[in-house]
Assembly symmetry: C2
Homo-oligomer: 238 residues x 2
């Protein structure tokens, strides 16, 4: 729960007390192992999930096995805010690593949100960010070269993690295999690997197993046209 508090507090002037009610809602903590499904496309979802630890992915499969990862869900992210209207999910969600999830009944969640306008605004904010990340992903996959794509995804993940942990860190713990990066970026694993090698050769990053160290964040951001302003826009106004 810390993570999401960090995240929201990063933007909104919202106190811990505001979260007490949310924290105290009836909930269940679920654990899923890497690869297990959390939500299947076509299912109706009655819960809001908050990622406590681990990474999850939202993805869609095509008939012949191609997979597109739509986005990564990191600690502090929640889903599906959008399905508070009891819509069927159109994409699947599964655990990318071992994941701990807080599961809250949509109805309870909605009721709480409605009682506190600050909470409502905060979660509206969360939804905006989610959309922004999706749009960024479209630009990446649509118009960027492999080098730019890999670099900007690394920067995005690093930035998002640092916001929810509350500490800036140039060492990005990457708990997912390269195939996940490839399927997020619309590239082949082979080329992701080559591109990472190139980033390393250029001195942008250093690579350790399960780890990427960002050595020249600014240069890399320029190279990939990565602008993280949208990830920590001005504080909320009420």
């Amino acid at each position: 729960m810390d993570m999401i508090i960090n995240r929201i507090a990063h933007y909104a002037e919202i106190g811990i007390p505001q979260f007490q009610e949310l924290l105290s809602l009836p909930h269940r903590i679920e654990t899923r192992e890497a690869g297990q499904d959390i939500v299947n496309a076509g299912e109706t979802v009655d819960y809001v999930f908050i990622v406590e630890t681990g990474w999850a992915i939202r993805y869609q499969l095509l008939d012949d096995g191609r997979r597109q990862i739509v986005n990564f869900m990191l600690p502090g992210d929640c889903f599906d805010l959008m399905s508070l209207t009891k819509a069927k999910s159109d994409h699947s969600v599964s655990a990318a690593t071992q994941v701990m999830l807080r599961r809250i009944k949509s109805d309870d969640f909605l009721k709480t949100i409605k009682t506190d306008p600050k909470l409502a605004t905060a979660f509206w904010w969360v939804a905006i960010q989610e959309e922004t990340i999706l749009r960024e992903q479209i630009v990446r996959n649509g118009r960027m070269s492999a080098k730019e794509r890999v670099a900007s995804l690394i920067l995005e993940l690093s930035r998002r993690l640092s916001i929810s942990t509350g500490e800036q860190d140039n060492s990005l713990h990457l708990p997912v295999p390269r195939t996940h990066l490839a399927d997020a970026l619309g590239l082949s694993v082979v080329h992701v690997s080559r591109t990472l090698a190139w980033l390393k050769r250029e001195g942008f990053i250093a690579i350790d197993p399960g780890m990427i160290h960002i050595l020249r964040r600014n240069d890399m951001a320029v190279m990939a046209e990565f602008d993280d302003r949208h990830l920590h826009i001005n504080k909320l106004k009420y």
Copy 2:
């Protein structure tokens, strides 16, 4: 205003009376010529816009002039619902054709939404669809071939237009130049042209200036793995 009523009524059991208040809100009708900006990236937006006629595009430019169109905004679409929190826009919106827009002050809009839970649900629904369209776009640009991309975009646009006009039509009036399709699909104009020629050769479509006729909708949907269920999911429950 008809368009958005059609659209929402297509999903939600919501009566015309519910829209009266929305309709009667103080607003301005603005007209923009093709190519003119509506919202600039970095701007704070205080208005909700509803497209009355014409097409608009949301896009982002990269330094060297590459452009990614994030999505098309058709009659009945509204934006930016998300910036009801007074966020800075992270992408630009401009008119793709001559456009008529209904401009409503965010505060007024928000106030009305809040008074009527049915309206609130309806617009939450609109936001879900918007996100769904974005996700679909990610899958398209990330993992689909040029043929699949072009076909599925044509099907999506056709579907969305038919929902807001209320009539199914196999003739898609395409008022934008090929460059727009290219920039939406992450392809070059040249290749969009070739791909359209291929679709025509295969008998999926017929082409007239400014017009695309869908001849074999089902086959085309299978070919492009286009599933429009998400665009007219079950009716809303309250």
